[in-house]
């Protein structure tokens, strides 16, 4: 499968050069790439899920290493791994249920003569399910073969597949692959339609004559506001321009084109204006597992201003932005430093770049970080495609989307 390797190399290069930007684009393209990885992968007869998982994991490792700050890539890799595990599990469960059923019917006929398995098929399936889910108090006393915290490549599917001695293995293999691809297609569709599902909820949150503040430009926010406007809500929007890239200007133009009352303010005027604002609605780069947000730079300030004046701070984000990791030291580890050209025109400060100073290094430095970390206690509400959630509830959504085994995609050397 040389062409898949080429595709992967191409995408890695794009990520490294920051040619792909924004979590939506990266998420979508990652999903598409993984779909082709899955479809090109040749599968052996036994342990298909393991092979698929290993293939996806290997590609995922490269992608994540290419741009570790673009957490959406890692999220999608983990989602796909979870999909494979789930599809594999559902196929083995159906197989087991068939086994259990036949055992049950035999039992009715032959009474106690049948030597049944000590555990019923349902119990086995339940145990298998619990290995997929994060460990819980529920399963503490039941024996689960592998610990979820230790990254493990051998899935439970591998050996149970071996045990169930089905004759039509090849057709079954095709079925697993088919199911996985189908599920990835659904995932891609979800990523594409998340804006619509989020903006459907707009009227519940934006009320007549309210003043909304946002910063920078987020497609999700734009669609959210427009959806409320379409439902005949009249409200005003303050747009902080979002220095240094001034994406807020673009958003303001788009909103005006939709007929929304829009006011542009500078980022430094947020505190001055916040007392008139009813709600802050912003987009996010990533939502972390503790409910903290990695967001465009400047948003922490907005969040603090909102908290100071008790204004609800609402974050809208698609579920592909949900990251199962906890931030430790997020200000340093999860940031990207952009070119100083955003701040300074070329040549404008050329006299400051005098290399003749004492130790040869220029006296003027420019730092242009991309992201801010907003701690969970500053966020009032998250609106995702599945509805509105409290920051402390994020872990629950994450438990639905990811399996605990995949939290560490990269194997430590």
């Amino acid at each position: 499968m040389p062409d898949v390797q080429a595709l992967v190399g191409d995408f890695v290069l794009k990520l490294k050069r920051r040619k792909v930007e924004g979590s939506h684009a990266s998420a979508r393209q990652t999903a598409e790439l993984l779909r082709s990885v899955v479809s090109q992968q040749r599968l052996p007869h036994v342990g298909q899920a393991t092979v698929l998982i290993d293939a996806v994991r290997a590609v995922g490792e490269q992608l994540i290493a290419a741009n570790p700050v673009e957490l959406a890539v890692g999220n999608i890799v983990r989602r796909v791994l979870h999909i494979i595990r789930e599809e594999d599990l559902s196929s083995t469960t159906t197989a087991m249920e068939g086994l259990g059923l036949s055992a049950g019917s035999d039992d009715e006929n032959a009474g106690e003569l049948e030597d049944r398995p000590a555990l019923s098929a349902a119990a086995v399936a339940a145990a298998a399910r619990s290995t997929l889910r994060a460990p819980s108090l529920h399963t503490l006393l039941e024996d689960i073969p592998e610990s979820a915290a230790i990254p493990h490549t051998s899935s439970s599917g591998g050996d149970s597949e071996g045990k169930s001695k089905s004759a039509d293995k090849s057709s079954k293999g095709r079925k697993l692959k088919h199911d996985v691809i189908e599920a990835i297609n659904e995932l891609i569709q979800d990523i594409d339609t998340c804006h619509e599902q989020i903006s459907e909820q707009a009227v519940e949150h934006i009320h007549q004559n309210e003043v909304i503040l946002t910063l920078g430009r987020s497609r999700t926010v734009k669609e959210f506001l427009c959806a409320a406007k379409e439902k005949k809500r009249s409200f005003r929007v303050f747009v902080a321009e979002g220095a240094p890239r001034y994406q807020g200007h673009v958003l303001a133009k788009e909103l005006v084109a939709k007929g929304l009352q829009t006011t542009i303010i500078t980022d430094s005027a947020v505190f001055a204006m916040i007392s008139r604002v009813n709600m802050v609605i912003v987009g996010a780069h990533t939502i972390m597992a503790n409910g903290g947000v990695i967001a465009p730079v400047g948003l922490n300030m907005v969040a603090l201003a909102a908290q100071r004046h008790a204004v609800p701070f609402v974050v809208v984000a698609g579920s592909h932005k949900l990251c199962p990791l906890y931030p430790h030291n997020p200000e340093v580890l999860l940031n990207d430093l952009k070119s100083p050209a955003d701040l300074l025109d070329f040549g404008e400060f050329s006299d400051c770049m005098d290399y003749g100073s004492r130790d040869g290094s220029p006296l003027l430095h420019v730092v242009n970080p991309t992201f801010d970390y907003v701690p969970p206690n500053l966020v009032s509400l998250f609106i995702t495609d599945t509805g509105g959630h409290n920051p402390s509830y994020m872990y629950r959504l994450i438990a639905d989307y990811y399996s605990a085994d995949d939290l560490l995609v990269q194997r430590r050397a």
Binding site: A134, L137, L141, H328, P376
Partner: protein, 361 residues
Amino acid sequence: MEAPKSPQSPNPNPGLGISAYYQTRAEHHAVVTSDWLAQAQAAVAPPSPPPERAAPESGRPFSVVEEFNFWRKKPDLAEAVAAIMALAAVIQSSTATTMMELEIELKKASDSLKKGDRSSISLTAGCDLFMRYVTRTTALEYEDFDAAKLRLIERAEKFGEISLKARRTIAMLSQDFIFDGCTILVHGFSRVVLEVLKLAASNRKLFRVFCTEGRPDRTGLRLSNELAALGVPVKLLIDSAVAYTMDEVDMIFVGADGVVESGGIINMMGTYQIALVAHSMNKPVYVAAESYKFARLYPLDQKDLEPAIRKIDFGVPIPSGVEVEECARDYTPPQYLTLLFTDLGVLTPSVVSDELIRLYL
């Protein structure tokens, strides 16, 4: 401020670097200062050699409390593990022939255990957890009652292993949060926290640890002993120096006696105070606790708990009519905790209630 006595004895001991004011004060109130460490050493030594097994088979009726006390004496065994071991022994010696009978017998045993020590939260939590497991394990899943019984015993005996594995898992999970050059404040002695720091030290992380003294049982001294043996830089603080040193601290690590439904923790006296100081100075408070310490309690305030009384040695006779606060632990509400490291993963405090509800409802 100079000592009030300075006119009489202007400089009683100039050679030593100890403040004259405090020295005179110490002499005044006869507070032990010199052989302080020696005493601590003595306190660290195990109080008594572990007693030999009380031979419950020899004719005497089986007593679950004795069994529990036997397991409890083992230094490396958590309370919840001891409780579950004791309940397993109940199953072993039980003559019940149906699941229902066995459950009733276990219920009685666990009630008598709980009554024996009302203040131990992990004992209660361990009993509840095991009872719940027994209730959910029906004999229907197994060939017969004996198989179910055997399985229960087997799982209970595995529990000690589960508990040790839980500690390792917690230590692994918390490694990402300990970064090079950080300063960690710990309070009291916790086996899990020790395991976390041990693993961090063996991963060649560079960090230093501030240990509180942990009056009156000086558990902090014990922890500092262990850490110093590992080669970790340690600084001992008296319990009241926490706020003074907090700006040097990067994170706080504490263990827990029990984790309650609100997501708060019950831990050694002083934890609440430290969490409050940390919160006001914006430092993260991490709790390392095994999930079998999750207890179905919802304390509304500090007094809403069975007090765990312990004697406090002030070194001097207490004047008659003076009361002493003898409670050994306090309750830290969830809003002052940042994250919980458990064997179920890294959790926010609100997950605790969720886990408990999933198990018991």
